[in-house]
Assembly symmetry: C2
């Protein structure tokens, strides 16, 4: 049975559930930042997935990447599976801009997270869910 890591749950808003992954939005207004979590218990690295799940994950990462890019008009996508702190396998898909708070460095450890306010996080999560659904249709 899959249970979302409590730290990931606390740091994110729900976007949508795909065939394999639950998609979340980092509650950090510094960057439009999605996280895909394969709904499989006990996975830490990409190579822990079955070949079928691994292939599905690549497709879902690409769907969310395309949706995030079309939604934001970002200059670059950053895609990463790190998991040194939170071990539950999760993939970051981050829309980067040449004027963002960490550019051109990776986002981790650069500036403190800035929570969305006035429901803007929920709005972006909702827009992203719609954009992902269009790409899957």
């Amino acid at each position: 049975m899959f249970v979302l890591d409590p730290q990931l749950e606390a740091d994110t808003l729900h976007v949508t559930d795909m065939r394999l992954c639950t998609v979340r939005l980092m509650n950090d207004a510094n960057y439009p930042w999605a996280i895909l979590v394969p709904q499989r218990q006990g996975m830490a690295d990409l190579i822990d997935l079955t070949p079928a799940d691994r292939a599905t994950l690549a497709l879902e990462v690409d769907s969310v990447s395309s949706a995030l890019k079309s939604l934001t008009g970002c200059h670059k996508l950053n895609v990463a599976a790190l998991g040194n702190v939170v071990r539950q396998l999760h993939v970051h898909v981050i829309a980067r801009f040449e004027h963002d708070a960490a550019w051109p460095a990776p986002v981790w450890g650069k500036v403190a997270a800035r929570a969305y306010d006035n429901g803007l996080g929920e709005m972006l999560a909702n827009d992203l869910a719609k954009a992902v659904a269009v790409r899957r249709a």
Copy 2:
């Protein structure tokens, strides 16, 4: 025609060429760190690849990941396509240890690269090439 980015070439040693990617070893003794570069000109993001190439890339990333893990006994793999500085599409596969120079942070921007000496980089590149070949056989 594919030409390896000069910065990537300068920072790395050749490991092996796979069907899609040329595989390189970062010349940084702080971490066993491979880089896969799809041999396609003008790609920046994962979503720029054709679906067939994208699927091949996932397989090749996993082959190199498994080889690097079996070779090093690392505690965690970090896999990332960032490319904010060097725009040519490339995927980092880094063997991480709980005692390494940046743990638990991502490796980028933490400590200065430390070049391998006494041919140790070439030895690791050679060992990695063999370990990748075994996994493809």
